[in-house]
Structure formats: C-alpha cells, structure tokens
Amino acid sequence: MNEYTNAVEAKGLTKRFGKFTAVDSVDFTIPRGEIFGLLGPNGAGKTTTIRMLCGLLLPDAGSATVQGFDVASQPEEVKQRIGYMSQKFSLYNDLTVLENIRFYAEIYGLPAERRATRVEELIEMAGLKDFKHEPTHTLSGAWRQRLALACAIVHNPPMLFLDEATAGVDPVSRREFWDLIYALAGEGVSVLTTTHYMDEADYCNTIGMMYQAELIALASPDEIKDELPGVLVQVDCERPVEASEILQGLPEVHNVAVHGAQVHVTLKHEWQARKIGTALTYAGFAVHSMETIQPSLEDAFISMVMQRQSRATQVPGQPQNRSIA
C-alpha cells in the first residue's frame, strides 16, 4: 500500500464532451472515514465526476487520486479499492440473496477460503438473514437496497461510491440504511454519495454543491445553512399567494417564496417577524401560525443559484431579492 492521508483528492478535475463541459475545474478532498455528499440537480455533473473517480472516464484536465492512486494512470489500482452502488443496482433477480452475494464475491476474486465467512458477515451486517434463500425479485425496495450495498462491499473496499443510491425508500428504511453507512465510516471506510434530493445530504459530513458543472459550495451542511443571510420565517396564513404580494412590499422583507400552503419569508432580524405578522393581519389575512425555521439545504442551494443568476430571468416564487444591507 502507498501512503495517503485523504481517500480522495481532486484538483482542477475537468471533463468535456465535445463543446460541452460536464465537469469544470472541480477541487475537493475527502478525508479517510468521512462521508462526502455531492449534491446538485440532474445534469450538474455529479455522475461524470464519480465516473472519473472510479477510473471509468479519463479527465480532460486536472487530476484526482483515490486511496492514493491516480485515476488516470492507475485506474486498475483504483478499481480494486472501490465499491460502487448506483440507483439501478445490478442485482440478479432470479438468484437468491445468498447467490447474489456469492456471485459478487467470485467476480471480485475473493479467495475461496474466505468467501463463505465474508458472505455470512455481509448477510449479518445487512440484516438479510431471514431472506437468505429468497429470490431477489421478491424483496422490497429497501431490502434490495441493503443487498446491493452488501454486494458492493463484498471485497472490503476502503472507498465506497453511492450514486443516487439512497433515494426512494421509506424514511424508516432510509435511516436504517444510513446507520449501515455510518457503521462502515466508523470502520474507516470513506464514502462519496451523490443525490439530487437535497434533504438526503444532511446525512453527510461535508457537502459539495454542484451546479452547471461547477462546484459552487464546499462545507458541512450546517456551515452551508449558516451562511445564508437573515432569518427564515414560515408563515401559515390564508391566501398565501396574495399574502406574499403584501409581504414583498414590506421594507423588512428580504425575500418571499410561496411553498404550497406556506409562505417562507426571509428577514434580517427575528424580531421583525412580529411586524410582518401585524401587517398581514391589518391587511385582512388571518395568520394561523408563524415560526422561525432553519433553512434547508435546498433553501441554501437556491439562494446560491439565485445569486449567480441575479441578472438573469426571474423565477416565480422567488420574486424579489433585495439586498439585506
């Protein structure tokens, strides 16, 4: 093994497809045992980044190492040390749970004498004991997800890539799945996960937000939320769309967004909430409730994107962005 401190180091990583730049000078590092979330809408460049890090695509500029190996010049070394699980995990539906894991154990060239113990270990870890001999197609989404994880780590990789692999299951199973991921991280496995569902990224230690091929933010979920200016207040009142128009006219109000039945209002100070509540009531809108809420990662993402396009087309629902000076 060579010496390395970070599981992943990407410097100026770039990929172009013809005239289209899919990934543009992306820099980040993932310390060992950390969970890194690559976040962004579809088409932002997440999957292309992962494919370069897995040694499947050659970067056009910049470089990256995974577990100390260069992805461009040592792709085979990289591939041996990573596990990869995607949204459409490739399980064999006709095979049983046990047979699927065994199959992957053979593919990854696990020595025959270690195979049986490792397979049992994984079944135990993923809680699949009761389903061992079930054909895979009878499993629910959540159990298939656990099986796919077991298959992806059958060769004990120190680095795990999860490409949109965590969405779609119920919240209880999702938490249980993350418990498995945290257990792996606790053993020193480093994880890079991608998601376009912003809430999911709260589970990561560090987040890289991608937008149009660029990394527009790199920090912990809390830091990203804390950097948002002002205070976010959720207002539940009647006729939220009309109410938002009133709110937009108030000097205290930095930003207004209608979220279905609720209005989200950004203020400079928390005490200003009272003033806007009063204003709404006097304007004839019954206010059912108001509370300060922590901005979500989606709020943060949208705020960053809006800043970038400040002079471009306005998006309804985010009608005005006044400076918060």
């Binding site: 299951v169 209880v172 709260d202 539940d236 006729r239 009309e242 979220h259 309804p316």
Partner: protein, 354 residues
C-alpha cells in the same frame, strides 16, 4: 376577528428568542382555520381496496378512507410502493377499485366516470406530451380533447401560457423543453378545461430544486383560484407545504390531518446535539436516561425526549453530562419536529403492533 395581535406588538423589544417557535400575538385568532374550505367535499374515498392479480398476497391499497374539502391542497405522502399511484388512478377513474368507493365532486368514479373526467385534471407520473408538437400545439390539442368551447379556446390557452410563464416558449417543440418546463406544460394541458379538481402524481420527482419550488408556487396559485389539488409525493418535506396530509405506507393510511395536527400528536420533542469527540457524544446520549431514542444525521444527533415541558430538563441533563465528560459542545438546541419524524414514528408504531 379579535385583535389578539395587539398584545404581542407591545411585548418587550429586547425579546429575541433565538429559538422561539411562535409569537404570542395571534393566539386569539386560531378559531377559524380554514374558512375557504367551508365548501363541499371535493374528493371522498371510502373503504377503498385494490388488489392486483399479479401480486402475491398483499393488496396495493388496503381499506383507505379520506375526505378532501373543496379548495384544499392535500398531499398524499409515502415512499415508493406505498400505493399512491394506485389511489390516484382510481380517483381519476382510469382504474377500478376492488372494493370500496371514491367520489369526485359527488360523482362516483366507477358509475359516473364521464362526469368525473370533465371535472378533473390528471397528471400521471409519466405524462405524455407530444414531443413533436410545439407548446401551443400541445395546449391546442388538449383543449380539443377536453372539448373546450371554440370561443374560449384562444383565451384559455393564453391564460395557461401566462400562468406557467411559457409565453416565450410557445413555439418551441415540447421535446426540446427542459424537465421543469415539461412539467409546467403538462400542468397547463391538464388545466386547460378549467377543472375543479387537480390530481397530480409525483409532479416534483426528478425536477431540479429551482423548478420544484416554482411548481409549488404554481400550485399555491391554483388553490387560491379555488381548485382542489391532490398531489402525491415521496418527499416528506413537501408534506409541510400542504394544507392537509395523508400518510400512506404499504397500502394503508397511517394518519390524516394538517401538518400541525400530525406533529402536535407526536409523544416526543427533538433535541439536536453536536459535540466532539463524536464517539463520546454518542455514548453520553445513549446513556442518558431521559433519551428515548436517537439517530445520527451527519455530525449531529437528533435525540428524542419526552415532550410536555420535560424537554428543557432533558437538555439540562445532557448539558451537564457533556460538561462532566469534557465534550466540546457545538450544538445543543430544541429542533423542529418534521413530517419525517412523524412518518417514522407512525411506521414504527405500526410495526410494533404487527
């Protein structure tokens, strides 16, 4: 309307509750919560069951009941496979229930499907626009299908283009639109005949965050116009954007109510904790007698403690324990309970019963 707000306005100026959850001033105004919904029931479902022939055993929908008042925004929330699509298909009269009944604006979806279809706009998950037709041509086509009177057609199309802000793209082929714009066009096509009820199956799935936000802003406007909207979503955070929510899991309705009602019914409060070193933090939390349950979210732990005013005591205990163990405390605060917390709680309760 009482002027309960006045008291609040006069509260002390220096009172910056950092984590204040509410302001006192509106307390007198809680009586008439949904005045606009005093209208008739728009959607009603009774003892609805759907069994598919191909599935072994469990029904896709297992005896669900709910009622949606006119002008409401109702969210049917649940993970993949919960039965959301099946329920919406039955309500849209494109599928027959195995048992039970469903009504739209008082019309039985089984015996009066043509009356139902006149009154609803239905957007399936894989809605079909015509990719070779332009935005305007698509709208025109759907207007014809829905028998919008010739005299109204032009005005109605213009209205829909303006509503979805697609005016500048009216001659673009639907196939060349971005994902978010396609959804908006589908929404416009489904609303071209001015339906009373809009049924949308996971409109926000696969849409980028900016478009998702725009979509929810559009839905708010539709509701304000008096249309009843039933929207399904796998995303728990979207449940909070609805006036009322039904949580669906394995074909059963776990609960229905306003987001507030659902959250207020939870038997716990949540404290958010972040301290270093992480391992010791977990140890302290796990050993704390006042902690019912906890789970990690990134570097933080979300800790369940019993409600009813015991929360601050539990926080004191945790603070003391952290101090005694020389932990570096970064966060120790009460957190909002989310719809996901509610869903997890209800699913666990159901599993415990089984």
């Amino acid at each position: 309307m009482s002027h309960g707000l006045v008291t609040g306005v006069m509260l002390g100026r220096g009172e910056h509750h950092l984590f204040a959850r509410e302001w006192g001033w509106y307390s007198g105004d809680m009586t008439d919560k949904t005045p606009e919904s005093a209208m008739d029931t728009a959607i009603k479902v009774e003892g609805l069951v759907k069994r598919y022939r191909t599935q072994n055993g469990a029904a896709a929908i297992r005896e669900i009941d709910f009622e949606i008042p006119g002008g409401s925004l109702f969210g049917l929330v649940g993970p993949d496979g919960a039965g959301k699509t099946t329920a919406l298909r039955i309500l849209s009269s494109v599928m027959e229930p195995s048992d039970g009944k469903a009504w739209i604006a008082g019309f039985d979806t089984h015996s009066r499907p043509e009356e139902v279809r006149k009154r609803i706009g239905y957007m399936p998950q894989n809605f079909s626009l015509y990719p070779d037709l332009s935005v305007r041509e698509n709208l025109n086509f759907f207007a014809d299908i829905q028998q919008v009177p010739a005299g109204d057609k032009k005005a109605r199309i213009a209205e829909m283009l303006a509503f979805t802000r697609l005016e500048d793209f009216e001659s673009r082929r639907a196939g060349k639109l971005s994902g978010g714009m396609k959804k908006k066009l589908a929404l416009a096509c489904d609303m071209i005949h001015d339906p009373q009820v809009l049924i949308l199956d996971e409109p926000s799935t696969g849409v980028d965050p900016v478009s998702r936000r725009e979509l929810w802003a559009l839905l708010a406007r539709v509701v304000q116009e008096g249309v009843t909207v039933l929207v399904s979503t796998p995303y728990m955070d979207e449940a909070e954007r609805c006036r009322q929510v039904g949580m669906l899991y394995q074909g059963k309705l776990l609960t229905t109510g306003t987001p507030e009602e659902i959250i207020d019914a939870l038997p716990f409060e949540i404290v958010e904790v972040k301290a270093r070193p992480r391992k010791l933090m977990r140890q302290v939390v796990a050993d704390c007698g006042e902690v019912h349950d906890w789970h990690p979210v990134g570097d933080r732990l979300r800790v369940l403690v019993s409600g009813n005013g015991n929360t601050s005591r539990a926080m004191d205990t945790l603070a003391r324990q952290f101090y005694a163990n020389r932990l570096d405390v970064v966060i120790l605060r009460q957190a909002r309970r989310t719809m996901e917390d509610a869903f997890v709680h209800l699913v666990k309760a159901q599993r415990a019963q089984a």
